[in-house]
Amino acid sequence: MLQALADGILTGSIIALGAIGLTLTMGILRFANFAHAEMITWGAYMALGALALMGPFMAPLGALSFGLPLIIAMVIAAVLTSLLALMIDHLVFRPLHGRPNDMTIVFSSFGVSLLVRMVVLLIFGGSAQYYSNTLQIAVPVAPGLRILPDQLFVLGFTIVTVISLHFFLQRTRLGLAMRALAENPTLARVNGIDTRVVIRWTWVIGASLAAVAGVLYGLTVQLRPEIGFHLLLPLFAAVIIGGVGNVFGAVVGGLIVGLAESLSVFIIPPSYKLAVPFIILLIVLYVRPTGIFGSAHHAGAK
């Protein structure tokens, strides 16, 4: 039980990181980006590629399975994922913006998600890969609870990232502009905000968070080209639970989904774990479609 709780929080924190990026882009760019989860895959694999190119030039840090190279690889992955997001926006989403059927852009993101996944498969192959071959020993923290040092790192890193993002959104002009754009794009422009610039930064932030989530996820599971595909539903569920556009909500939503997934094994066979986010999603949509923290503003209602 304790172990399941800990695992749930761990998965939940990774889902939360991905969901923050998704909720920001859904709130500000105003469409459900099906390709967001593939940025997680892309980021994870870019880090793998960067690691391979750098070679193991430093020993792992302390009890962790990785060292400085992985941190550098994570930064490189964030940059490359941001570039991918900006490129997709430039080539696909922007030209489709304002087309008659609003859902065209959502659908195009569905097509893009397939392309990204297949390109990763083509470059890196379909078999499972790891960042490191170092075997880690789980540390017993409490009776019945063992945690890998890497998992502690993931948790700590997520907390730091969420707090920094919070300060960024609350304290900086760009953060303010992003919040304004999420509420009312026209009024934001009237206020002298160049929304194209803000949108570009939104992509960069969303993509970087996705890349970080991908690398952290890759530390705790095997890398496969399908990791993003399997995370898509949990991400959407987390975003909708927390209310679209709500960063704090996405974090809580991510934790709820992560915990529900890992605790579900006590009720249903583990092979149905992937359906848990869907069940939660249905319940939320039936009971409270604006999400837990959603206001009437970004109302699920149209």
């Binding site: 303010l176 009237v190 002298g192 905000i193």
Partner: protein, 243 residues
């Protein structure tokens, strides 16, 4: 052509390229002048002002400010070009605090200057100060209008355009709003406003344009137009409120 601070010539605009709502409207505003636009519901008053503010694309015609062509300026460039616009509805960010709303209004200024201007705004509108860190959604209609105007003035614009600044306000608030706008004009700012409250608006403004069906109908000095039988019959009857 030139000489006026602000000039719009034969503006054609609308929400869809194939469906113009404004069919060649012209108007001008001089420095420190207050101008009112009136007209029946659906005349295109809001549409015209949105087109000038760059919110809607102008398909033909031109708009100049101080001799500079601003017809194709993107919306966000207007603030820097010294035009401010207060929309008819949704003119404050309800999810942001009062202070954040004001900071946003100063987006086009460097940060230090922005903070300075926000400080000045509180001096000009002391009533806003006590709500500094409250979300704008707690404000009343009148307070929101005040916040919207305060925000629009942060960049020290030459021209401020307002869409129905008195809508939904109590009579007392209405005269307060108009008095403040009048003060603005006396301090040298030009005001162009759309009003349903024709009588009161014409009483404070220098000149008035009447729009109907997306075209100029009548125009002239407010005091003279207020005597015009047609204008009286259509717009000034029954206390001057149509709706």
């Amino acid at each position: 052509m030139s000489g006026h601070l602000f000039q719009a010539n034969n503006v054609v605009a609308g929400y869809r390229p194939d469906l113009p709502i404004i069919h060649g409207v012209s108007m001008h505003v001089d420095a420190a002048e207050m101008v009112t636009i009136i007209g029946p519901n659906g005349a295109g008053k809001s549409t015209m002002i949105k087109a000038i503010a760059g919110v809607l694309p102008i398909s033909s015609g031109s708009v100049t400010l101080a001799g500079k062509d601003i017809t194709r300026l993107p919306t966000h460039g207007m603030a820097a070009a010294s035009i401010a616009y207060v929309p008819q509805t949704d003119n404050v960010f309800t999810t942001l605090t009062i202070n954040e709303n004001l900071l946003l209004g100063a987006s086009s200024l460097p940060k230090a200057k922005a903070l300075e201007q926000v400080g000045k705004a509180y001096d000009k509108f002391p009533a806003l100060k006590q709500y500094r860190d409250k979300k704008a959604k707690v404000l009343s209609g009148g307070q929101r209008q005040m916040l919207a105007v305060a925000r629009a003035l942060l960049t020290d614009p030459h021209l401020i355009m307002l869409d129905e600044p008195s809508a939904g306000l109590s009579p007392l608030m209405v005269s307060d709003v108009f008095a403040r706008l009048r003060e603005l004009v006396e301090s040298g700012v030009s005001v162009l406003m759309v009003e349903q409250n024709a009588k009161a608006a014409m009483a404070v403004s220098h000149r008035t344009y009447v729009l109907a069906e997306g075209r100029n109908r009548v125009e002239g000095v407010s005091s003279a137009l207020a005597q015009d039988p047609e204008v009286i019959a259509i717009y000034l009857g029954a206390g001057g409120r149509k709706r």
